[in-house]
Symmetry: C2
Subunit: 293 residues, 2 copies
């Protein structure tokens, strides 16, 4: 790889946040909180399963005591279900996610909206992608009625099209923006988007759609990592910033031009990085945030 | 999987064509031609490397003698290059591909446009995706000046976004349609698109963009297979029609409503199907074309 294109000011190190999935194989949540303090990293974005293992109240206290900001809470969503009972279960679980996000002091609840409905064994049921998208729209509208009065912004994260069937049927930022406009017109901070470079870097409409989201006050989160060539696994082969082909400074410039002043959250699912000592991962995240993002 | 949605007339078996990559591990091109005749399959879409091994003149004669139509020739493209010499080499190679497509009697030359420029070792150079897309536009315009007088339609194939870096930086049908309109406005049959369900099935804009391509006389090819859940490999884990989540009858209906009357070309890159005896693969293609496409 050559250096990232263009000459731009390095990002503010105070905006760096670590999504806890990045070091989930190495550490528990309390260990991650301690490590972030040790490395002088200011932000965290915890996953629900890690919080559940450590305890919600204790996790919230540790994060607060460490002086960390919480760039997002991962995650709500997974709206489509094969029957009404499944949709009710998703609704209830998503309300609990909102409650947890509030307790943990998160800036937003990230929504990975789900793909096709699944059967009890986790296999997709049917092929009705448009129907799944309708369930997503309805599920978000219903959750917003719960989250908005509580003051927890919902951030729809468009996922890469390779996850359309099994993880999220919202696959472009344009689609997420349209969904926001349909469900909550003019209600920018309550419902918005999480822009993860891994999912959207390829999109020729990206500059336009980031500007559109910014103008509507919908840019709630910004996740960074890199796209490796070759990519050897659909799920767990994300790259460290600078190791792949994403022009991170260019996308950050789009975000900043659109008014985004929030965190730069590193989220790396990687079988390789999960084998590296956690302190080395965090040191690398800091260095690459400064030098290649 | 449940049955494909809706009740639609089965496709005309005479439209079935086999892309030779589907059985490339089992057979040479002459063997594939013989096998298609044996199975009563009327169409073929050969790859250049297989033609080169069998000889162009001999391949053309065998295909003609077997009474096969050639739904497309795979493939031209790969326009971006790191320097002028590389772009000239791509230009010359693409002109040879046009010549071969004419010799073989293909209905179109399929263009896989290429991703980021590569170095001599095949690694991506830089991160300028917009620059690569500009090279693609210029390369197609230049090739059209050669192909159009010769009477060989060029079919731009948008590839799935997971191939944006290394195979094709045209990643949606909207992008391909815009490219056609920019390079050759109003020149539908000379420059068009190849719609491969594997690459575009997830796209919420698909109905609109198929209709748009049809209205502009740009629907030059239609490739079918299926998207498996889970997909275990980015390149070679495509599914047989009916084994995955793509609503093939729905997409065929969009194509037909847009005026498409061409072939249904089966193109399956699959480490699993490459291990199955070729005759069984072809029998399955026939059955699934009739029952699940």
């Amino acid at each position: 790889m050559t250096a990232a294109s263009g000459v731009r000011a390095a990002p503010d190190p105070a905006r760096l946040s670590i999504n806890t999935a990045t070091v989930r194989a190495q550490w528990t949540l309390p260990e991650i909180v301690d490590a972030l303090a040790r490395h002088g990293i200011r932000g965290i974005s915890p996953w629900r399963d890690q919080v559940a293992r450590a305890g919600l109240v204790d996790s919230a206290r540790r994060i607060r005591d460490a002086g960390l900001f919480v760039s997002g809470y991962c995650r709500g969503g997974m709206f489509p279900a094969a029957d009404a009972a499944g949709r009710r279960a998703a609704r209830d679980d998503n309300r609990r996610a909102v409650d947890e996000a509030l307790a943990i002091g998160a800036r937003c609840l990230v929504l990975v909206v789900g793909g096709l409905p699944k059967d009890a064994a986790g296999r997709p049921v049917g092929r009705d992608l448009a129907g799944a998208r309708a369930m997503v729209r309805d599920g978000i509208a219903e959750l917003l009625d719960y989250a908005k009065p509580a003051g927890m912004p919902l951030a729809i994260e468009p996922l890469h099209p390779m996850y359309a069937a099994d993880r999220a049927c919202v696959n472009t930022l344009a689609q997420a923006n349209e969904l926001c406009d349909e469900v909550a017109p003019g209600d920018g901070p309550s419902l918005g988007v999480a822009v993860d470079v891994y999912h959207v870097w390829w999109d020729p409409q990206l500059p336009r759609e980031i500007a559109r989201a910014g103008a509507a006050q919908r840019l709630l989160a910004y996740h960074i990592c890199d796209w490796l060539v070759p990519t050897t696994d659909l799920l767990n082969d994300r790259g460290m910033m600078g190791d792949g082909v994403i022009d991170l400074p260019a996308i950050r410039a789009m975000m900043e031009a659109a008014g985004y002043r929030g965190a730069h959250e590193v989220e790396i699912f990687s079988g390789r990085w999960w084998k590296v000592p956690g302190d080395d991962v965090l040191a690398t995240c800091k260095a690459r945030h400064a030098g290649a993002s």
